[in-house]
């Protein structure tokens, strides 16, 4: 009886479980149906959003919009504080400058119609265009230009951006004089042969709106004078610009520009290939083929003004080690130039052809006639033998450490490893030390104690050979990271200051570069190839100065 009851109970239990499973199955199927329906709704919404274009999320969808993908967000939209290179591309659309640099490195009048250097070389007088306007529609006058220089120079605000941290100190700016509403004179402490180019890097903005803004407010709000005005800045997401109706100069070709911040390179590439971007910067080497074979976009490359080199640090800190002592000898530094096969490095690791750097001057401005050293390991070995550094029993002449940042420059760690192998092949045993860029590498470099070898990139200019030399302003200069102190080289600066004749200056530059080359100051590598993904729907060419412009 008990067994029967037990069996019946089990039977009832099994039946109930079975019914429950059926219900559960129905419930699960129902859930799946709901999820599928929701997915369909979402997909429909997504398609609608895509059809309306990416700018559908912006307050108003401009008619003809250029969409640009950047890896990083803007650092600040205060014209006195902007600094990062990607921000400069945005800033040049928001504000004008007195002169502007063309894509081939020419300085052309922009907000100014003319510039005249004073007889003593310590002032530039600019005549302004009469049709300049602030975003509000008010006329832009010489008073506004003076404010555009005085405001970033004001120590009260402690600005550290490109204008206040580099341009104005390099210019040795002393003040701006308003001669009349359309004439302004920019004054500086001493003659500076690259003054006009430096002035061309100063954004011109209107006094009234910026006097009303706190620096904190100005960092994320803009009052434009350039071809576009700021519509919206969604931090870490997008910056939306639209045509500035008050801009008195010829209207730009696009009604709007949207800069989208997409840090991950593969996502940026996917957005380009999906047709959601027109231009993307920072194409990585392993995606070149994917873009070029997509049929929707192509990769455009340009040798940029950023020089990639290995610094031979001559800081006394390294003199105690055999390697540190060896690289103080110019003959050793010269020898090592022949040990590295730069074109092969570019082909193999950057997947872009590049020529070896002959000097630190951007090729378009390089009139020195110095030719790049070829790859010749036998010559490197012979020169090292002549310098007295013969191979030991273990085949090693001396040992060095090569420090490199990780992820700062394209494929930097692998480039450093390859260089280390080339140097080891000629008997210079080289160990690579990989460092975090911001927290470790930069402090070491800026204290001049990186290395004794360190992989570095340094930005020059497309418009002046002299600008490119400014990494070495003095033996104790802040940006002279290798503590290079050759008196013959630095005597050149005095000679340049003494003449205002560009031809004479070019001769001095040639002499300085000969010293730089003969002393093997840097291990010259290449001008970094910049890679951009460009949609087939537009025609656009990149510039060497890393600015994304719409000219």
């Amino acid at each position: 009886m008990n067994r029967l009851t037990d069996r019946r109970r089990r039977g009832i239990g099994a039946d109930m479980r079975s019914r429950f499973r059926r219900r559960l199955r129905v419930t699960l199927l129902g859930t799946l149906w709901v999820v599928a329906s929701a997915a369909t709704c979402i997909a429909t919404a997504a398609t609608t959003a895509a059809a309306a274009g990416v700018a559908a999320t912006a307050p108003e969808a401009p008619r003809r919009v250029l969409r640009i993908g950047l890896p990083v967000d803007a650092d600040s939209l205060d014209p006195s504080e902007t600094d990062a290179q990607d921000t400069m591309s945005i800033a040049h659309l928001l504000w004008g400058t007195l002169y502007k640099t063309s894509s081939d490195g020419r300085l052309d009048p922009y907000f100014a119609v003319s510039a005249k250097l004073s007889d003593d070389g310590r002032a530039y007088t600019f005549k302004l265009r009469p049709d300049l306007k602030c975003e509000s529609g008010a006329p832009l006058t010489a008073r506004d230009v003076a404010y555009s220089f005085d405001h970033p120079a004001d120590p009260k605000y402690k600005f550290t951006g490109h204008a206040s941290g580099f341009v104005l100190p390099a210019l040795r700016y002393t003040g701006a004089r308003v001669d009349d509403p359309l004439t302004i004179t920019i004054q500086f402490a001493a003659y500076n042969p690259i003054a006009l180019g430096l002035i061309a890097e100063m954004f011109i903005f209107c006094r009234a709106p910026y006097e009303a803004m706190t620096p904190e407010y100005a960092a994320s709000h803009a009052s434009a004078t350039g071809p576009y005005r700021l519509v919206e800045w969604r931090h870490d997401d997008r910056i939306v610009l639209e045509r500035n109706k008050s801009y008195g100069l010829p209207a730009p070709s696009y009604d709007g520009v949207v800069f989208r911040v997409i840090p991950e390179a593969s996502t940026r590439t996917a957005e380009l290939l999906a047709g959601n971007l027109d231009i993307m910067s920072g194409v990585v080497a392993d995606q070149i083929d994917a873009i070029n074979h997509s049929g929707t976009a192509k990769v455009e490359s340009v040798a940029s003004i950023r020089r990639i080199y290995v610094g031979f640090n001559q800081n006394p800190k390294f003199a105690a080690s055999a390697g540190g002592k060896a690289i103080k000898d110019p003959r050793v530094r010269r020898a090592l130039q022949f040990a590295v096969d730069v074109p092969t490095l570019c082909d193999a690791l950057l997947r872009t052809p590049c020529a070896r750097m002959a000097t630190m001057i951007f090729p378009a401005n390089d009139k020195t006639g110095i030719r790049a050293d070829p790859y010749d390991p036998d010559r490197a070995e012979a020169l090292l033998d002549q310098a007295g550094y013969k191979r030991g029993a273990d085949g090693v002449r001396f040992a060095l450490t090569l420090q490199t940042p990780r992820g700062r420059y394209p494929n930097d760690v692998n480039i450093a490893l390859a260089i280390a192998q080339y140097l080891t092949d000629v008997g210079v045993k080289t160990t690579v030390d990989v460092l975090d860029f911001a927290s470790v590498f930069v402090p070491l470099v800026r204290q001049h104690v990186a290395g004794p070898l360190f992989l570095m990139g340094s930005s020059g200019a497309s418009w002046s050979a002299l600008y490119d030399l400014s990494d070495f302003p003095a033996p104790d200069g802040g940006s002279n990271y290798t503590d290079f102190a050759d008196p013959e080289f630095f005597a050149g600066w005095k000679l340049i200051d003494q003449t205002h004749d560009p031809e004479e200056q070019a001769k001095v530059v040639r002499a300085m570069m000969n010293v730089f080359h003969d002393r093997g100051t840097w291990l010259n590598l290449y001008f970094l190839p910049d890679l951009y993904g460009v949609s087939n729907k537009i025609s656009w060419r990149p510039r060497a100065d890393e600015l994304i412009t719409l000219d």
């Binding site: 109970r9 009832i12 109930m16 479980r17 019914r19 429950f20 499973r21 219900r23 559960l24 419930t27 699960l28 859930t31 997915a39 979402i42 997909a43 919404a45 997504a46 398609t47 959003a49 895509a50 990416v54 999320t57 967000d73 650092d75 600040s76 550290t160 206040s164 941290g165 580099f166 100190p169 390099a170 620096p215 904190e216 960092a219 931090h235 870490d236 997401d237 997008r238 989208r260 911040v261 997409i262 840090p263 991950e264 593969s266 996502t267 996917a270 957005e271 999906a274 959601n276 975090d436 860029f437 911001a438 927290s439 470790v440 402090p443 800026r446 302003p473 200069g477 802040g478 940006s479």
Partner: protein, 327 residues
């Protein structure tokens, strides 16, 4: 009384955890090198660097700097972000809705799918369906979120054009600001952007939830009181939902508290892949730029939230399990 003591004990423990977090984050970031170089221009002279160091107090002993930091923290001042030139706490809180939106969506997805899958697997123990669900769970827990994210971008976004690849339309921000209309209007546009990142984050949690629910439920289903309930003739649904699941929830609830923290930390990678403008990306960039005040603000906000959620879980535990109240 015992409950009040328990609560006080938990709060005290939470405070110790938060202080520990501040100490560790402060020490770690300062051990990375001298932060003075962040505040000076590239061409600053040695004298300018020294003056800036003294002005900012970076020349003081680390312990003194830390005490100053804690004092400011108690006043709600976490300093200004070095990159944003704004109060660091404000910058973090601005991005927080985006991260919370993603975290809640992922948690909701993990629960909505993980719990039924776990129940289903437990009820079909040893059958192919159970095996299938467990294989799915194993795969879900093994796939790196970075890889899954990129695969979704390439397939769902790029190849099939079903969903937008990256970006975000704000949903929680207007909601928190009390602007229901904007939130409602944004909803149709926001959902497509939310799907891929939340699925990427949720897959791991979903798999873990399913496994945990399955094992908890199996354990509970073999208990005497379940047999008794069946013997009393209760329906299977009632037994599962009212008796078995309620007790099986306890370990799941513990895991949920931890899961919330895991999801918050997991968003760093996913926010980067999908260009989601949240705190994860903010912290990633802040670490790269050594924006110390910003990293500290984010770490403190994260730890407060994490500690708060776990405190809440503890309280729910008290509610769900009377044995703890009585212990």
């Amino acid at each position: 009384m015992a409950l009040a003591r328990l609560l006080a004990q938990r709060l005290l423990q939470s405070l110790v955890v938060v202080l520990g977090v501040t100490l560790v984050s402060f020490a770690t970031l300062h051990l990375g090198g001298d932060p003075t170089y962040l505040y000076v221009g590239e061409h600053a002279s040695t004298e300018e660097i020294a003056a800036t160091r003294a002005k900012l107090g970076f020349d003081r002993p680390l312990a003194t700097q830390y005490l100053g930091f804690v004092r400011d923290l108690l006043h709600g001042d976490l300093g200004n972000s070095l990159t944003f030139h704004e109060p660091a706490l404000g910058v973090v809180l601005d991005r927080f809705p985006a991260t919370l939106e993603l975290t809640f969506a992922a948690l909701g997805l993990a629960l909505a799918l993980g719990v039924p899958l776990g129940v289903f697997a437990a009820l079909h123990r040893g059958r192919p369906l159970d095996g299938g669900i467990m294989v799915f769970a194993l795969i879900g827990q093994s796939i790196p979120s970075f890889w899954l994210g990129i695969m979704l971008v390439l397939s769902v976004g790029l190849a099939w054009h079903w969903l937008p690849i990256s970006g975000r339309v704000p949903l929680l921000d207007p909601l928190l600001a009390g602007d229901w209309r904007t939130a409602w209007n944004n909803l149709p546009q926001a959902l497509p952007f939310l799907v891929m990142p939340s699925v990427t984050i949720a897959v791991f949690s979903l798999a873990r939830t399913a496994r945990l629910v399955r094992s908890s439920l199996l354990e509970v289903l073999s208990q005497d009181y379940v047999r008794t309930a069946r013997a009393k003739g209760l329906s299977e649904a009632r037994i599962i939902v009212h008796h078995a699941l309620r007790n099986a929830w306890l370990p799941v609830l513990t895991m949920l508290g931890l899961e919330f923290g895991f999801l918050l930390s997991g968003v760093v990678v996913v926010e980067t892949v999908f260009s989601w403008p949240g705190v994860g990306r903010l912290v990633f960039n802040a670490i790269n730029h050594r924006d110390i005040p910003l990293v500290q603000a984010a770490v403190i906000v994260f730890s407060l939230l994490f500690v708060g959620v776990n405190l809440l879980v503890d309280l729910l535990y008290l509610r769900l399990d009377p044995r703890i109240r009585l212990a």
